[in-house]
Subunit: 415 residues, 2 copies
């Protein structure tokens, strides 16, 4: 027997009880983002390999599921580089940029896009990460002002609050600040990338850990000391302006002021739904960010649940001229698992009606049963007609679990 | 510039106005099938190559998008056969059979499954066929009686009627009848497959066309004449019983009676929503069908829109013991294009409110605008805040098109 029962490694299946929750959550998200005027679109799962491997996606480009060219014969000159001309998307941002450049003339300006879709990454399943997972993105294309960031952050905090996930913390930084801070410590531009990979672990390893790891890369002790000196002065209550005023760490005033505005305005707007703070250690992995970046943590779970930022240079690579863009992406699987924990009791209401039919029931009676079921459905009742199985006890129990409060055994009913 | 603006060949994109329609249609389908007690599940897009290439899927197995093994280096012994270990699913039935065998202990019995998902087939795009398209399947697993067929057919006709697609015709046949009829004409069992490929074209080429094509395959004239003689006696008003009574074409009485019951009961149940007829020329391509098969046409469009049948032997290939199963699959793209034609006027309601913000608006005022928007959203109003663009005329027009009946220019509003 060559048939394989288990799913492909890292690819999830959704059982009926999980789908009820997923649909509930997805509907809430759609209603909430819809209220903010974001417009749902869809892009295909399969993308050109050229668009996926163009140094925009950071380390995700190592994780692409590549698809074999159609009609390709394996020849001597075939290599792993040219045997594939497409792949499964690893995020929704790259397809969105392509979509926008292809359809701009049919889209409003600015364009507030909203996507829900699966993405695929061949991540190590040992980490417990899925290889197919659902993302939910909102993006504003064509707005270079802070209005975009404010709209995205408030809409997302609002949505998380609607889902009953409790208070959250939005951490905000700016890619230009991140760079300038390192350059101010006399690091070279080529050293930035490995520095940020290390800084990204600050949450777990602290300043000392960052210092050790930077030193072990052979970076100058002077520079490392200066850099970690700045990091030491950071605390979560400090504003962006005060952080840079405090230290001799010159920063473009306009960039700082823009970030200050985003933080202060959104902080006032989200009120008791969450907090918004400046965090100079926030990195965000994707190569395409150019300005403000942000990430949301749920306070009760210490889980990063959403992230995003501004990417003003990406669409230009498709269109030939730059179009500003900013987006926020939430990972649905983490939200699902939290809500599942919280609402284990959530089930279908018990208002359903189930007819059980004997396998030797006569034609006329079958017709009568289906007719009764149809009448009940007219009043929006959920009605299931099923053949009786041998283990009638198990069948009744399962029907009750599915919310069928009324189970009609049509054999008894005949008498 | 290596970035490609257009989507991969045959892969569709959905613009906002198309998505509004899709969501509307999908919701109707979910509500309708939900009322019948079908339970939504999800299976991954990626499936084991072994499960996709096991002679169950007919010609679809030639159309698989294969995915490169991860971490595979191209070696001398690498061939196109072993360079891929998974592929994109070409239907929802193969993944369902695997899903059921993997999760049977968590599922009710009988299990009424409901799936909505994309499938991928590398069909010739010249035919105007998409290479990614959405299917919507309902299946009943664990019921070997006609209750399953009756439930599936009535639920699907009901759903099409709910969508306002007008009357439909359900054509019904049985794989065993199809086979027996050919064997009765003295064809060999090995000849059945090419005969059915030709019979499948009966709608377009008629009896004479079928005869010519069978002859050109070198089949015996006697047999072909007998076969086409039967086909000539068929008309759409003839019942299955009468068709076989009329000619000397012996058929298992139980199979005929079962099909008669399915046809007559569903005909009475769907009433004026459609008609159900016996059609001995209905073939259905998939290799996995074992009993009754059916297809639905919309009367006003002469378009086949849904098809299905019984496949009692497929799940056994995963589980080791047979489990009866029967399913109905509708193609969403055809339904969408029909409804799009019918409802060109369908748009968003004009109840939305849009705030236009100047790019130099002060912080306090931005906060006030977002606060007002938030208040309106509390009453379920859709509210969009956007930065004003230079071409304010175009922007206003587009906002109106998106259903924003009220457009507030916050610059004027300040005065």
């Amino acid at each position: 027997m060559d048939f394989i029962k288990t799913p492909v490694k890292g690819m999830p299946e959704q059982l009926p009880q999980d789908m009820i929750l997923r649909e509930f959550v997805l509907n809430k998200i759609k209603v909430n983002y819809g209220k903010y005027g974001f417009l749902l679109i869809e892009t295909p799962a399969v993308e050109h390999i050229e668009n996926l491997t163009n140094k925009q996606g950071g380390e995700n480009e190592q994780l692409i599921f590549k698809i074999l060219k159609r009609g390709e014969k394996l020849k001597k000159e075939t290599t792993l580089d040219n045997i594939s001309d497409s792949g499964l998307r690893y995020d929704l941002t790259v397809p969105l940029a392509r979509f926008y450049s292809n359809n701009a003339q049919h889209l409003p300006m600015p364009f507030k896009a909203f996507q829900i879709g699966n993405v695929w990454r061949a991540d190590n399943p040992q980490k417990g990460r899925l290889r197919q997972f659902m993302q939910c993105d909102i993006d504003i294309i064509g707005d270079r002002t802070k209005i975009a960031e404010i709209d995205l952050i408030t809409a997302t905090v609002d949505m998380l609050s609607e889902l009953g996930l409790g208070k959250c913390t939005v951490r905000v930084n700016d890619r230009r600040i991140l760079k300038q801070m390192a350059l101010n410590c006399n690091f070279n531009p080529e050293q930035l990338s490995p520095i940020f990979v290390i800084l990204d672990k600050y949450d777990k390893i602290g300043v000392e850990g960052v210092k050790n790891k930077l030193m072990s890369l052979g970076m100058s002790e002077n520079n490392v000391d200066k850099y970690c000196g700045y990091l030491k002065t950071y605390d979560k209550t400090l504003s962006c302006k005060d952080f840079f005023a405090k230290e001799d760490n010159s920063m473009d005033a306009q960039i700082v002021e823009n970030l200050e505005d985003i933080i202060n305005i959104t902080k006032n707007l989200v009120k008791d739904k969450g907090n918004v703070i400046f965090d100079p250690t926030l990195v965000r992995g994707m190569g395409y960010y150019t300005g403000p970046i942000f990430e949301i943590e749920l306070n009760s779970y210490h889980l990063s649940i959403a992230g995003g930022g501004r990417y003003d240079k990406m669409i230009g690579k498709y269109m030939g001229h730059d179009v500003p863009a900013c987006g926020f992406s939430i990972g649905l699987e983490r939200i699902m698992s939290i809500i599942k924990e919280k609402q284990k009791a959530l089930g279908l209401e018990g208002a359903g009606v189930s007819y059980l039919v004997d396998k030797d029931t006569k034609r006329e009676k079958i017709e009568e049963i289906f007719n009764q079921a149809a009448k009940l459905r007219e009043d929006d009742t959920r009605v299931s007609v099923s053949t009786k199985i041998k283990n009638i006890g198990r069948q009744r129990e399962e029907l009750k679990k599915q919310g069928y409060g009324k189970i009609i055994d049509t054999y008894e009913w005949e008498r």
